[in-house]
């Protein structure tokens, strides 16, 4: 869908800004908000470009730079730490060959950290795009990533 088509689905009111940014980001194959998208949004809502940028920048789920097809969010909050979650990031970094915050050169994966995903009963946890993965250990991480690599 084009930016225009998405914007037309929302009434031009500022209260729709976050929903618009979500929709635009989800629509982009690289899971991010382009300059063009922010500019068009500002025009649609009759806001300054800087205030749209300010909102996009504030919220951690929005990205202003290209990301992978799959965004991995690893929980680093208290319960996951208690359940040996610090190791999860390390395993993922090894398997993917990137550091937290980076995207694999092929553009498939981006590795990010997140706060409590509300999965604490099965910690440690992570999400890949919309899907949750719990009870993570090195073996499970390898399996999940291998599965996603096939896509």
């Amino acid at each position: 869908m084009s930016t225009k088509q998405i914007l037309e689905k929302f009434e031009p009111r500022r209260q729709n800004l976050l929903m618009i940014l979500h929709a635009l980001q989800d629509n982009h194959p690289q899971n991010y908000l382009t300059e063009e998208a922010l500019g068009e949004t500002a025009k649609h809502l009759k806001l300054t470009k800087s205030s749209v940028y300010g909102v996009a920048k504030y919220y951690t789920m929005f990205s202003l730079k290209p990301r992978g097809k799959f965004v991995i969010r690893v929980c680093v909050s208290a319960v996951c730490e208690l359940m040996k979650g610090q190791e999860v990031i390390g395993h993922l970094e090894n398997v993917l060959g990137i550091k937290s915050g980076e995207t694999t050169p092929c553009g498939t994966f981006t590795l990010e950290i997140a706060e409590c995903l509300g999965q604490c009963q099965e910690a440690p946890s992570m999400m890949i795009n919309e899907k949750v993965f719990n009870h993570l250990d090195e073996q499970k991480i390898r399996e999940v990533i291998t599965e996603y690599r096939k896509w």
């Binding site: 208290a78 730490e81 208690l82 706060e115 995903l117 509300g118 604490c120 009963q121």
Partner: protein
Amino acid sequence: MIKETRITLKNVGKINPESIDDYIAAGGYAGLKKALKMEPFSIIDEVLEAGLRGRGGAGFSTGTKKKFTSKSCLTCPQRYVVVNADEGEPGTFKDRVIMENDPHLYIEGTIIAAFSINATKGFIYLRGEYTGSIDKTRKAIAAAYERGFLGKNILDSGFDFDLELKLGAGSYLCGEELTMLESLEGKRGHPRIKPPFPAEKGVFGAPTLVNNVETLSNVPLIIANGKDWYRQFGTERSPGTKIFTISGKVKNPGYYEVEMGVSLRELIWDLAGGMSGDKPFKAALLGGAAGTFVDASMLDERMTYDNLREKGATLGSGAVIVMEEGDSVYNILHNCLRFFKHESCGKCVPCRVGTSMLVKGTEKLRNGVPDKRALLDQMVHESEIMAATSLCPLGQSPILPLKSAARYFAEDLLI
């Protein structure tokens, strides 16, 4: 041996959350039907006398809040209900359980709440990462519109109410009610100065009732069954049930709905199956990052808002994070303080600078300062200054885990 008392969770696992017919067959929307035949003020009185208290963490009387909101600014053309579904407190997942398994329950509660304060428009502010809850809620709202529980002239009562789903985007602070209102207006998540409270000046400047998902889920039950039925559960000052989410080193981590007033020991050993390994209990963090550490001396205290507050602990969101002997309270405290630093919005100086200083201080405790005791005292002092001077409750929170850890587990922090 205590057992669960499932009232808000009674449908969990028993009905298809995507089927409104299942929900209705299980007695759903009966509360709404009854409410629409009542006078709005008598709905408020029923909730007030049932003694329901906010389940979002603060434990404020829900009936009183409704009363304020219904009476403020009578000339305002519009009032709103906002559902706080931004659940982000580490260790907490009770609202997710309701939203994923029985979404119509809290939607029904929201409609009743709206009718009682004469709000014709409402928002659900749901955290963006909760994809399962978003999906179920979206479908439930659509089904409720289809059946005439939402929209114009609800069940021929003459009452109109529109409910819209809005998504958060990864900010813990947006769970704080005034910050949530800013976010709903499409702005950065910066808190507002209180007062005015949402009841006076909420979203778009209009009187607004903000309630948590679990709080609202109790409302249909209270209206359908009456306040006396509700008061048979729990204690005099904390009636009803509470969903606790137990995680960490227990055999059966998960969610448990119990009558208010059970003890921590009962939660851990009767419900969660006891400790997961051979090691004894060491600590629990109650209420998440904005919560308090307790040691074994607190195991038999009643888990009610007032009793825990008197003992210097918190019930908060109902998170119970259990640690065993050998686990490091230092590490978990460090994690909580790091969390606050990450989530501080930077608007006010005490919180922006203070949350960073506390993380640095905690790290210094491990990197050989000569007088660790003095440093720890200094940190507690800093957190007191933050609590006194921060603009919003986020900056007022680090004192909770810090002071309680220093009180019960100083030896962990000072090694």
